[in-house]
């Protein structure tokens, strides 16, 4: 059955602020489809963001929504989830939000394994402030603060998440809608902290500065630097060099923090009653 997006959108808040050709709206639709498929109720979802283009998402969705300060979405979300573990907590943010100013919260959220769903809208640039370089800007790419090309190495969101202990990690390009749908849906089904590196194009800044062309031309470019994780063994090291795998990259089971804390409360209570 077709999804009725208006069951989840705050219609009166349209039109959104995102530029023509931006991929953020496609990610939002994948999020909605996953929620619809799982049958989550609007009232049981808390959606938390930081600051930036992607962080405007909560304004458009009819859940309990929180637009926090730059980089701090995961910190606020941690408080919400621990205070009310029954809420489904989804966190969205950009590459600047999660990999730069909020990097410390990102790695610790991965380590703690609290059942929250993080989606990083990764467009390799600071869009809201006018196209400055971000920690995922590709080496040599241009940005307003990297006019001669970015001299640094970018972070790989997924590698960072896996190394920090996230129990579900996936990546998809907005162009590949079925894969984006699958990765987000599976991340929502996962018990524990999940990270989805959702690639989105920014034709307004990244595309223009780097002469990557229109949104569709940018998607073609991004397609050249990815490979599906399912082809990992078929491709040679040479073919994979400098490319990013997409799909579900990592999923393990580990103690979830809220459950662990509840077990602690229960055991203390038992001990008290026994005394």
């Amino acid at each position: 059955m077709a999804v009725n997006y208006f069951n989840y959108l705050r219609k009166e808040k349209m039109p959104h602020i995102w530029c023509a050709g931006c991929g953020h709206g496609m990610i939002v639709k994948s999020i909605i489809r996953a929620i619809d498929k799982l049958g989550w109720k609007n009232d049981e979802i808390a959606l938390v963001s930081g600051i930036g283009c992607s962080s405007r998402t909560p304004g458009y969705l009819d859940f309990h929504t929180l637009h926090t300060t730059h980089g701090r979405a995961l910190a606020f979300a941690t408080g919400i989830k621990l205070a009310k573990p029954n809420l489904k907590v989804i966190v969205v943010g950009g590459d600047g939000d999660m990999m730069a100013i909020g990097g410390n919260h990102f790695i610790h959220a991965c380590r703690r394994n609290i059942d929250m769903k993080l989606i990083v809208y990764n467009n390799n640039i600071y869009g809201m402030t006018g196209g400055q370089a971000s920690p995922t800007t590709l080496t040599d790419a241009k940005a307003t603060t990297a006019p001669y090309g970015f001299l640094e190495e970018p972070f790989d969101v997924c590698n960072m998440a896996i190394a920090s202990g996230a129990t579900f990690v996936g990546r998809a390009l907005d162009l590949d809608v079925p894969l984006m749908d699958r990765v987000i849906l599976e991340s929502f089904k996962h018990k524990g902290f999940s990270v989805v590196d959702a690639w989105s194009q920014c034709p307004t800044y990244f595309g223009r500065f780097n002469k990557w062309g229109s949104a569709s031309e940018m998607m073609e470019r991004y397609k050249q630097i990815i490979y599906n994780i399912r082809q990992k063994d078929q491709l040679s090291e040479e073919e994979k060099k400098g490319k990013y795998p997409v799909g579900i990259l990592h999923q393990i089971e580990r103690n979830e923090f809220c459950e662990r804390y509840q077990r602690l409360r229960d055991s203390l209570k038992e001990k008290e009653e026994a005394e």
Binding site: H67, T69, T78, G79, L268
Partner: protein
């Protein structure tokens, strides 16, 4: 014969009394980061909260700590953090978020010497301006300052009550002496203290920033059937961002006005021998105890000295202070910093007579004799 209920008297440090007060006040979430001289509060909460169905979490830094307690409060759970100067500096941005989005929470600041790492284990009162003006923008600062361990217990409860009532972050400003000193405390039971809980909405559609006469909008918890949006951007009654000038002006003014309008329910101070005083000492926290002794000693010597102790540093009971200073020929402000609260005293009591500071930043408390000499001068 009526059985008299046994009073629960304990010998505790200020930090422990703070934890006891928080639990009685209904705090069920603590997010914090270790920092001297406040760490015992986190340690206390880590032990106690899981026993009462609450949650303790040690966050990765102070920025995360304040984020977590604001999140927990939005989810409907009373929350608290504890820190000291360097941590308070890190929290400033989100203290502003709490004020702007009107989220009740309690921040305990056990003051140590600053700036920077300063003197982690010595007493100080160097944050009294940072508490008032630390975040950017205008915001309704509320700060309570206890002078004894028993008062730490009572004012911690009061800090929660004010936060819940006004829907705003409240600071409990202790100094290292009050935090680490051990004294007799009477731990009152929940039924024997006044507990205030935030006003909840009664009808839908709920507008998170729609207010009545008291200017304080009701606040439900996330997941309680009222879906709403919260942002640090200027917003209208619906909670969504606005850049309409008249609405921005209204919102920015209202968060200040709600404190001003309700300040009589918040303000507290103590006066000691002020009725006829020629010399008025204005002091707070542990310095006020030294000042009280100095005032007594001065009286013994025939000098009409008095003490005005603001218990709420902010808002200050300005009228009461003006009255107390009414016939004074001199006002003395001892504080463990280089002259911060004196600026407020000067503004409130005006000029025409000397207002002098006693300032000490050597990591030692201000002694009664030092204050007495100044009274005698």
């Amino acid at each position: 014969m009526e059985m008299e209920e046994k009073r629960n008297i304990k010998f505790l440090s200020g930090n422990e009394a703070c934890g006891e007060g928080a639990i009685i006040a209904g705090c069920r979430f603590f997010g914090g980061y270790p920092i001297s001289p406040s760490s015992e509060i986190a340690e206390f909460m880590s032990k106690r909260l899981p026993l009462v169905g609450g949650t303790f979490i040690q966050m990765e830094d102070e920025i995360a700590s304040i984020g977590a307690i604001l999140g927990a409060s939005l989810a409907g759970v009373k929350s608290m953090t504890a820190t000291s100067g360097p941590g308070l500096s890190l929290m400033q941005e989100n203290i502003g978020f709490g004020a702007m989005a009107e989220i009740p929470t309690v921040i305990v600041d056990v003051m140590r010497g600053g700036p920077s790492t300063g003197n982690p284990t010595g007493p100080s009162q160097s944050d009294v301006m940072a508490i008032r003006w630390g975040t950017h923008g205008d915001y309704p600062a509320v700060a309570l300052c206890p002078e004894s361990v028993n008062e730490v217990f009572l004012l911690t409860i009061e800090a929660f009550n004010i936060a819940e009532f006004l829907r705003t972050p409240v600071v409990l400003a202790m100094d290292e002496i009050t935090a680490h000193m051990r004294e007799k405390v009477e731990l009152l039971k929940e039924k024997d203290v006044k507990i205030v809980n935030r006003k909840k909405p009664e009808k839908t559609p709920y507008l998170p920033y729609e207010y009545g006469e008291d200017l304080i909008p009701p606040l439900p918890g996330y997941g309680e059937g009222f879906r709403f949006h919260v942002t640090g951007l200027n917003h209208d009654k619906t909670g969504f961002p606005t850049n309409k000038s008249e609405l921005m002006e209204e919102g920015n003014r209202r968060i200040m006005d709600k404190l001003d309008k309700n300040k009589d329910k918040v303000i507290r101070h103590e006066e000691f021998m002020t009725e006829d005083c020629d010399v008025l000492v204005v002091a707070f926290g542990s310095s006020a105890r030294a000042a009280k002794r100095a005032v007594r000693n001065a009286r013994e010597k025939g000098i009409k000295a008095g003490l005005f102790r603001p218990i709420t540093l902010y808002p200050l009971s300005e009228k009461a202070l003006q009255k107390a200073a009414g016939r004074a020929k001199k006002v003395i402000v001892p504080e463990m910093n280089l002259g911060q609260y004196i600026l407020i005293v000067e503004r409130v009591v005006g000029h025409g007579f000397p207002i002098v500071g006693i300032n000490q930043v050597d990591g030692e408390p201000i002694s009664p004799s030092k204050i007495l000499s100044k009274i005698e001068e």
